[in-house]
Symmetry: C2
């Protein structure tokens, strides 16, 4: 039954479709929106419409951007000979926050996952190949996630990039900084041992 | 730094202001919205604007509604002599889902909470008094939450409604149905004992 009237019910239904938002949270957000001052609610609605309308993919690195090429690709202070391949724009942002990597990125928008029916052709791998054929890089750093899908994607990329005679590297696996060895899983401990370095 | 471009950053900022939505969830929702088909994103934005513009308070029970009086208050099949006082429209919806209560409601929009600076004048208690003075009811059922604020509100309402010679009742406290006694807290167990009824 419709306890709240059609407008609130419609809002709750729309909110429930968002990832990570269940029925209870959708209700809570809906009532919060109704209590907001009119201009704050309009600002939220506008930011949704604007983001959807004005955001597109960077023609170089496939990152989401409102200017093409994106801010990173058009920054002449960055090294175009190092390309870091990530699954997601959020992974790129995570590396940007380290303030250390000064190369460029390539965003795949996912990882190979036969379970979910995602193959190499569903990712921006073709765009990466074309990019490297047009303008070869010295090194491609594969920074896909350290899970099954990310590893599969890394192996696939390594296989298809080898013939281009580009150095392909993978970010290191090991124990996270600040962690406690006792709580680290066995696979990570093993990888940390295998990847040990002279001090 | 602005890793995503201004439109995405603005959307993430707006989403972060919502209750229960932290930085990570805001990012996840923002990227979900950008991947949506245009009309789905527009539907979400419209539902926000529409709900904010068209929803107001019912002049009788103070519930949120798009028609005044609301669907419950204007339903002639309901008993106007029983009024259930709740804190929130969601509490009203919870009781409506039981399909048992056939009286009317009064929504306070909060509970007395000196810690948060919320006193009786910040709630719709004046509207309740005026409503009862214009059209006395046989019984007022206080269904505020079973926590400190809800109990304080119930006691306050009882005190100010007593002079009107209306029967004031409080919903029962006790062990929840389907629970396991072992995991019920002491206060609830005590209340359940005090409220025992002959079988």
């Amino acid at each position: 039954m419709d306890y709240y009237g059609s407008y609130i019910t419609k809002l709750i239904d729309e909110l429930k479709k968002l990832p990570g938002v269940g029925g209870k949270l959708a209700q809570r957000i809906a009532f919060h929106i109704i209590q907001l001052p009119g201009e704050r609610a309009d600002a939220l609605a506008e930011s949704i419409t604007n983001a959807k309308r004005n955001v597109r993919y960077c023609s170089v690195c496939c990152n989401l951007t409102d200017a093409d090429p994106c801010a990173v690709c058009s920054n002449s202070g960055r090294n175009p000979n190092e390309i870091m391949v990530v699954e997601d724009p959020r992974d790129m942002a995570a590396y940007e926050r380290t303030n250390e990597f000064k190369g460029l990125y390539h965003v795949l928008h996912g990882a190979i996952s036969p379970m979910n029916g995602i193959g190499p052709n569903d990712l921006r791998i073709g765009a990466l190949l074309k990019r490297l054929q047009n303008k070869p890089a010295d090194e491609v750093i594969i920074a896909t996630n350290p899970n099954v899908e990310g590893e599969a994607t890394a192996m696939y990329l390594n296989k298809i990039l080898k013939p281009l005679e580009i150095k392909v590297t993978r970010i290191a696996h090991g124990v996270p900084v600040g962690g406690d060895l006792e709580y680290v899983d066995e696979v990570t401990l093993l990888r940390a041992l295998q990847g040990r370095r002279e001090m």
